[in-house]
């Protein structure tokens, strides 16, 4: 544990029988799924709950790279947006069935992540962040210019999925509850995959790289390739989040590719806690609920949300979930 900002999720005190904590860690995926099942009934609206799912998946995917591999990317909006645009275009302009469009979106976003990762993981530190930012802005401008495909500044539209066929049953996809639980399945899958990745030897390898890149390479890990793989997996999960958002809103705003969106992902991750598996999801939840609730109260909601951020950064550097795990679960 050399770097306190990226402290590992595993408890350092294995000697102590921290039962609850170890239970939570062992069953983190089932517990997360139970939480997700309850979510739409606890939040002000179902539409907001789906947004939490989308950004939760995106933030968890992002954290694979940021929290676990230790690479600060400022370009993940590109993968979210690519997933959304590819899905939208596939449904709207090629009449591809929705599930195939999701696969295409995920695959396409992953491919883009591979390409951008191959270029950016050659650099380190601030240069890495700058290269991801620049390449993501490139994607933004491509989407802006290719308006016959993407709708340009007006955003991509005309691909509303009204109903879907699940195992022979027609499901009304406009119904918010149906939509939530269908998309929740994808989110649960993504959480499980990320959890598997983190528990695998590969998960240990990326953490080794985060802690000390030179030592990892001395131990025989191919650092370059591991970073690239981590980048690609992270981008692929984010692309899944993008496809979910496309299905949810039936609209892809050009803003979804903007670096503001990338910054928001980083912010959510930090807010929830980059040091834990579920932290980024909590960050997305808190971020979106705060925006939603405070902007109903007052048009000066930005002041409140901004102040809360400052307080969190000052007093909870491990993020909400990270602090919760550290204080309560031990």
């Amino acid at each position: 544990m050399t770097s306190p900002a990226f402290a590992a999720p595993m408890p350092s005190s294995v000697r102590k029988p921290a039962r609850l904590k170890s239970l939570v860690t062992t069953y983190r995926v089932p517990l997360s799924i139970i939480a997700l099942c309850l979510l739409p009934w606890l939040l002000p609206s179902k539409a907001l709950a789906v947004n939490v799912l989308v950004y939760g998946v995106v933030a968890v995917g992002y954290n694979l790279l940021f929290g676990y591999t230790g690479l600060l990317s400022f370009g993940h909006a590109a993968f979210v947006g690519a997933g959304a645009y590819i899905t939208g275009i596939a449904i709207g302009q090629f009449g591809v069935p929705w599930y195939a469009a999701v696969l295409l979106g995920v695959f396409g976003g992953g491919l883009l992540a591979f390409a951008i990762g191959a270029l950016s993981t050659r650099t380190r530190g601030i240069y890495f962040s700058m290269v991801t930012l620049a390449l993501a802005q490139l994607v933004y401008y491509v989407a802006l210019q290719a308006s016959s495909w993407t709708g340009g500044e007006n955003g991509l539209r005309g691909f509303t999925v009204n109903k879907i066929n699940l195992l022979g049953y027609d499901v009304n996809f406009l119904d918010p509850v149906n939509k939530y639980y269908v998309l929740m399945t994808f989110a649960a899958l993504a959480l499980w995959i990320v959890s598997r990745i983190l528990n695998s030897p590969f998960g240990a390898a990326i953490e080794a790289i985060r802690e000390n890149e030179r030592r990892a390479s001395t131990c025989g890990y191919n650092v370059e390739r591991t970073k690239l793989l981590s980048f690609t997996l992270s981008g692929t999960i984010c692309a899944l989040g993008g496809t979910m958002s496309a299905l949810h809103l039936a609209f892809v705003p050009l803003d979804s590719l903007h670096y503001h969106a990338s910054g928001m992902i980083v912010m959510m991750t930090l807010l929830g806690g980059a040091s834990s598996f579920f932290g980024p999801f909590v960050g997305a939840l808190v971020f979106l609920v705060m925006e939603d609730v405070f902007s109903l109260w007052t048009s000066h909601w930005q002041i409140i949300v901004g102040s809360i951020f400052v307080l969190f950064v000052l007093f909870l550097p491990k993020g909400i979930w990270g602090t919760f795990l550290a204080r309560v679960m031990r």
Partner: protein, 416 residues
């Protein structure tokens, strides 16, 4: 954290207590939304960008919309049903607007949606309302929303569109053989205005000597101004919106472009003129959907202004603000005719409606649901000529409502 503290915290919070606490917290969070009584109020959603660069215009929209709602409620509502306006901040973002509209429809069960203040945002709202069969009255400029691809039988476009606005301004300022240089914001609004101007120029015979696109929300225009000067135009046409308009005109004046060319804008904004002052805007010509000064010519404008003044401590309504009033009034009038909120009946009533609530006669064209209405061309006054602080513009022309200034239905892709 030391071991002793860790032990204390661990013994203090049992799993049972943690669960009880979680449950209590959850129900606390859920409470306001569970208690939503069924009632017969007519609810109208109003997403608009209360934060961001168009906030000033958005706030005026809300005030005017509230006025329309108040007037109907004071008259006893619609069929005895009260009207409630649910204002939401769409943050000038299509995704946010779509989410807010979903919330309004799914959670608040609104009967109709009015609002938005950007081309992209209204198209997002349009997409959501179209799929769910909810009536939407759009109150910001767009050409795209008229086209058949985005047409929704539930959507009515109350605002002017770039084609008719730019066309009117061009007809009343350009002459045959005039040289026009364009500076346009690089997004849908700028592109559509630019297209509208160029089309009108082609009819008039005015020549384009150059065009520059600037990024949306730019603060610095100094690099564009020497290039625009070197084009030696008779007219400088600046197609952008909100703060961009004030910033770009100010810098054009600083660079002496006004001595060389007449500055023309598609929509001259009341709030932006107030933000910079009369010296800078002096002589700038632009279009508008509404100007309070119409009250000397139009009785309906006088009635609207007086009601607005009474409700807002003597303040006058602005151009984009008036959209909130005309848009909401037309919808509520149609609901009155339909006797309630039955979607098909309200659509039929809106299509047949002839209304004059602020700016002369208006009606919705059948094919694309575009509001056929008058277009004003205004010129910003010299400070010496202003009779009061609010006497900002001189009405150069008031093009009467006519379908002729719109693109034809077949051109938009509708069957003839």
């Amino acid at each position: 954290m030391t071991d002793s503290i860790r032990n204390i915290t661990r013994t203090n919070i049992s799993r049972r207590r943690a669960l009880a606490g979680l449950g209590a917290g959850a129900s606390l969070v859920a409470m306001p939304w569970i208690a939503r009584a069924a009632d017969d109020t007519i609810r109208i959603g109003f997403p608009t960008p209360l934060t961001g660069p168009f906030a000033a215009e958005a706030k005026d929209q809300v005030k005017s919309a509230e006025l329309a709602v108040k007037q109907f409620n004071d008259k006893g509502g619609i069929n005895g049903r009260k009207i409630e306006l649910l204002v939401r901040d769409d943050k000038l973002n299509g995704g946010e607007a779509a989410t807010r509209t979903l919330e309004l429809i799914e959670k608040d069960k609104v009967h109709a949606v009015v609002g938005s203040l950007s081309s992209a945002v209204q198209l997002a709202v349009n997409e959501v309302t179209r799929a769910r069969g909810v009536i939407y009255v759009s109150i910001s400029q767009s050409d795209t929303i008229n086209e058949v691809k985005d047409f929704s039988k539930y959507t009515f476009h109350e605002a002017l569109n770039p084609h008719m606005t730019a066309g009117a301004v061009a007809r009343h300022s350009f002459k045959k053989g005039a040289k026009v240089a364009h500076l346009a914001a690089d997004y849908a609004y700028g592109h559509e205005m630019l297209r509208g101007f160029k089309r009108a120029q082609a009819e008039i015979g005015a020549e384009t000597v150059g065009e520059i696109l600037h990024p949306f929300g730019a603060a610095d225009y100094s690099t564009f101004m020497p290039r625009l000067r070197s084009m030696r135009p008779d007219f400088l046409c600046i197609s952008n919106f909100g703060r961009d308009q004030a910033n770009s005109i100010k810098q054009a004046v600083d660079f002496g472009l006004k001595q060389q060319a007449k500055i023309v804008v598609p929509v001259i904004l009341h709030n932006q003129r107030l933000a910079v002052g009369p010296e800078v805007f002096e002589g700038v010509v632009g279009g508008a959907n509404y100007y309070w000064g119409l009250e000397s010519q139009l009785p309906s404008a006088k009635v609207f202004n007086d009601a607005y003044r009474a409700a807002n401590g003597g303040a006058i309504p602005t151009d984009y603000g008036a959209y909130g009033y005309t848009g909401l009034s037309s919808l509520l009038m149609a609901m009155q005719v339909a006797g309630g909120t039955d979607t098909d009946k309200v659509i039929a009533a809106l299509e047949a409606l002839k209304y004059d609530v602020a700016k002369g006669p208006q009606s919705y064209r059948k094919c694309d649901h575009q509001s056929v209405q008058s277009v004003l061309v205004l010129e910003s006054q010299k400070k010496a000529d202003m009779k009061s602080d609010a006497d900002l513009f001189k009405v150069v022309a008031n093009e009467p409502a006519s379908e002729k200034v719109l693109r034809g239905c077949t051109e938009l892709g509708f069957p003839a």
